[in-house]
């Protein structure tokens, strides 16, 4: 089987290499790909959308419809992970482990306690618990706000520099994942509950599609942001720039929430009680 598949793969690879013979040279400025459609984007972006980052302009405006579905793909993955993994039945052995906050003593309970102790006195921790590392926990705690600030910057500054909704959203999501990794999943869940995650991922895509539908309501084609000018008291070209900003916000929100949702479900096998 292995040899057979190796032979197949080498054969296919050989065919692919043969087909590169007719390719234009790598990096050739005169190749068809560089001459036919893309010059318009490069030369007209500034006057048509007033966005210096051409990639952002093409992504969210010229081909904004693709990007809407790209966000929907992320959303789909989040819903799919939830549907496949989430389970509400408790784990077979409800062993509970607590840490006495003041002394650091670990208490293990075989049965459910009659009354849940106050988290400020006895904090509940994972049962396959690793010793808390003071340095990692505190460094991450210090870093996370800055990471989130950077994520917001990336979303907001996508018009002028590399970045945009996806990258910023992933960075925001990663900051929450970092919290779950360095502290524990329960702490992260307290900061961002499951329902909030699920709602945000849907609302994010809804913002994108909603901006498009608003254009439809304004009598223009779907996602034609220039028609939003009268609503925002700007000229059509700035309306495009602002429209791109709004959809990028939606993308960021959806991507952040979905990344967190997928991570939570993967890391806890769908129980959402304790992570890695």
């Amino acid at each position: 089987m292995k040899l057979l598949s190796l032979a197949l793969v080498i054969l296919v690879g050989g065919l692919f290499i043969a087909a590169t013979a007719d390719f234009p040279h790598w990096g050739d400025p005169a190749s068809p790909a560089s001459r036919h459609v893309s010059p318009r984007y490069i030369e007209k972006t500034m006057e048509e959308t007033s966005v210096p980052n051409i990639v952002t302009a093409v992504l969210a405006d010229y081909r904004g419809y693709d990007t809407m579905f790209e966000t929907a793909v992320v959303f789909t993955a989040g819903v799919a992970c939830f549907l496949l993994l989430r389970r509400r039945d408790p784990r077979p052995e409800p062993k509970r482990v607590y840490r006495h906050v003041a002394t650091g003593v670990i208490v293990e309970m075989k049965q459910e306690p009659a009354k849940e102790p106050s988290p400020s006195v006895f904090a509940r921790i994972d049962d396959d618990w690793v010793p808390h590392d003071l340095i990692i926990m505190n460094v991450c705690r210090l870093l996370i706000p800055f990471i989130q600030l950077f994520g917001l910057y990336v979303i907001a500054h996508g018009h002028h520099s590399p970045g945009g909704g996806f990258q910023g959203g992933v960075i925001l999501g990663a900051s929450i994942i970092l919290l779950a990794l360095s502290w524990d999943l329960r702490t992260a869940m307290n900061r961002m509950a499951e329902t909030a995650t699920g709602l945000m991922s849907a609302v994010g895509v809804f913002i994108y599609a909603g901006v498009g539908a608003l254009c439809l309501a304004m009598g223009a084609n779907f996602l034609d942001y220039s028609s939003l000018g009268p609503l925002m008291f700007v000229d059509p070209i700035h309306a495009r720039s602002l429209g791109i900003f709004f959809v990028e916000l939606g993308v960021g929100l959806a991507v952040m929430a979905t990344m967190v949702l997928i991570y939570k479900n993967l890391a806890s096998e769908g129980h959402l009680d304790q992570g890695l």
């Binding site: 598949s5 400025p29 992970c81 496949l84």
Partner: protein
């Protein structure tokens, strides 16, 4: 034998050959590997290889990154020439493809966790033998 005549060909095409190599490595892993996580890694390599191909299409000698080199203000009055900037379209397409690949990855890992829940293993041959016993 004069090897120098091949160097121009090599220089203009090697990027495409490496993408094919990577793609075939990924494809081989997806077909021949036994462990499901390994297969999923192979799938990710396969997808990134295709992204590498697209990004290579966009490359342009003597051009800079596709961000116009001036913000607001009058500086952009000078006409922007297409040859000065790298083709942005493949980049846009590949942003989409990267996001699609992470979405596929999430679903694939979720499915593999479900499989592990039931069979307590991720080795394909062990799963198949358990299936046959039923």
């Amino acid at each position: 034998m004069d090897m120098t005549q091949y160097i121009p060909v090599l220089l203009t095409k090697y990027n495409y050959w490496v993408y094919i190599t990577l793609m075939m490595i990924g494809l081989w892993a997806m077909i021949a590997k036994n462990n499901l996580i390994k297969k999923i890694i192979g799938m990710s390599i396969f997808q990134t290889a295709i992204i590498l191909f697209y990004v290579s299409i966009g490359a342009k000698y003597g051009a800079t990154i596709p961000i116009l080199s001036h913000g607001h203000g009058g500086a952009h009055e000078a006409a922007v020439r297409a040859v000065d900037y790298i083709n942005p379209l493949p980049h846009v397409l590949m942003l989409t493809a990267i996001v699609v690949s992470v979405a596929t990855l999430g679903v694939a890992l979720a499915l593999s966790i479900r499989i592990h829940r039931r069979y307590r293993t991720l080795e394909e041959d062990e799963i198949l033998s358990q299936l046959r016993e039923q």
